[in-house]
Symmetry: C2
Amino acid sequence: MQLTRLLHIQNPIIQGAMARISTPVLVAAVSNAGGLGVLTTATSTAQSLQADLKAIRASTRKPFGVNLMLQQNNINDLLPVLLADPVPAVFTSAGNPAPFLQNLLNVGTTVIPVIPNVEIAKKMADLGANAVVAEGAESGGHIGTETTMSLVPQVVDAVNIPVIAGGGIGTSAGVKAAFALGAAGVQVGTAFLVAEETPVDQNYKQLVIQASDTGTVVTGTGANRVRSLKTPLTEKLLATTDSKLFQQLSTGSLQRAIDGDTERGSFMAGQIAGAIHEIRPVKAIIAELAKGVPSIIEYLY
Amino acid sequence: MQLTRLLHIQNPIIQGAMARISTPVLVAAVSNAGGLGVLTTATSTAQSLQADLKAIRASTRKPFGVNLMLQQNNINDLLPVLLADPVPAVFTSAGNPAPFLQNLLNVGTTVIPVIPNVEIAKKMADLGANAVVAEGAESGGHIGTETTMSLVPQVVDAVNIPVIAGGGIGTSAGVKAAFALGAAGVQVGTAFLVAEETPVDQNYKQLVIQASDTGTVVTGTGANRVRSLKTPLTEKLLATTDSKLFQQLSTGSLQRAIDGDTERGSFMAGQIAGAIHEIRPVKAIIAELAKGVPSIIEYLY
């Protein structure tokens, strides 16, 4: 099934959830422009989630998604909201949605786990997930180890549900390449991070725009691998072997970046930052990304 | 200029140089099948290089390439051979070819540096390189940090010479994606590693074929970052902080892999190993990779 039909959207472009950044204004803007906006719930309470859903629905009649990062400790508070007041789509990441996946499907929500490898993709397909996002390690924020170029075709071969490619995609060329790899759609984060509609300080956006192709670095290990722009903070994180200091430097560092603190902020961004050159409205970003999509789909299939 | 015209080859498929592996039999097979075989010189002397060139020319009348990995300590021995008896193409990697690039161009050799980022790509274009290979960190062996999906379109935007995409490409889907990213051709390593024509023990080929999408790991740092299959050796390398022990375990480990020593060998391979499922002749591998190439080029341009 084509992703646009599954999600009732015009363009197969998913806005990747960004903690503290993909708030209702961005979500509604992406959905209004024919993509799928995805709300972060990283810092939500049941009450604030209800308010966010209300704000999104007041701004768009188009479908949208909600992300649950399963390392969050608020999942049990948020799930009842999503079951009582169903949303079009839920994306899950960094954990196993098995305990509640069927409940979401039962209320009519499309469930799309973000996965880092073939084994987990297969498990999610077996559980009844409607699609998966295969996310390469070139992404910003918390990442796995496999790259989009290698991961996506292997996931496409392994499952019979649509595969959305994420990681390293921020331009029209990347979108076309994702379809050539067999993806049914793309997840884009960094390109939307610098949209006019994000609640992010100009310092953050300027650092993304000024970044070169080698402008990001990975800090941390295992479940704490994080890709962000090279800044004074990442230098300190890479220099220390003291896990207590690492933790202390990291805590609150994303919010400090959003507030524009270039010294102590963690400016999460993907490798494709080097290809992103201006602050634009969401509508212009989606228009560029979507250019030629129907044509390449027709060519490939 | 199209890469096929620059190199006088039928298919824009370059066989990536593999130390101790891409010896004359493989090189000639790739060139005879319409790609460009590339000889490794990692362990060559002037005399053995002359013998290798003779062996290649006895087996094919098609163009081929020679790789110079500039960390090798035999470069000053090999260069006079390549200047006295010019070859169609020289690929350089892991160093700056500025001191001799013009000399190679002067004898009619096409010079193509393998580059890990935009800055070095620009330098090589300014020096007069005929093309570059933009090689992502999903590659096997010695690698950089940027990935194919992100690196290739940024290099394509930055230089006016053909860009060959390398890293994560081992199937028809990857080849098409590379062209969508703006590449003029592809460099393929791991898929040729398991060709019938390589001087590699069956143990090595079987490990590649059995590898899953998460079957490789990166050991070492800086210029010593190496991607290989997860084996007892990589576990030991990742566990140690003793640089002397690391060195001791590493020395000779690629040859041990080629000889089939699964305990102590370094089985260098790229992430795309997970998508490679059989030992085949070079001709069959190239036929699969080249399928649809003229069509996608026509579609894109």
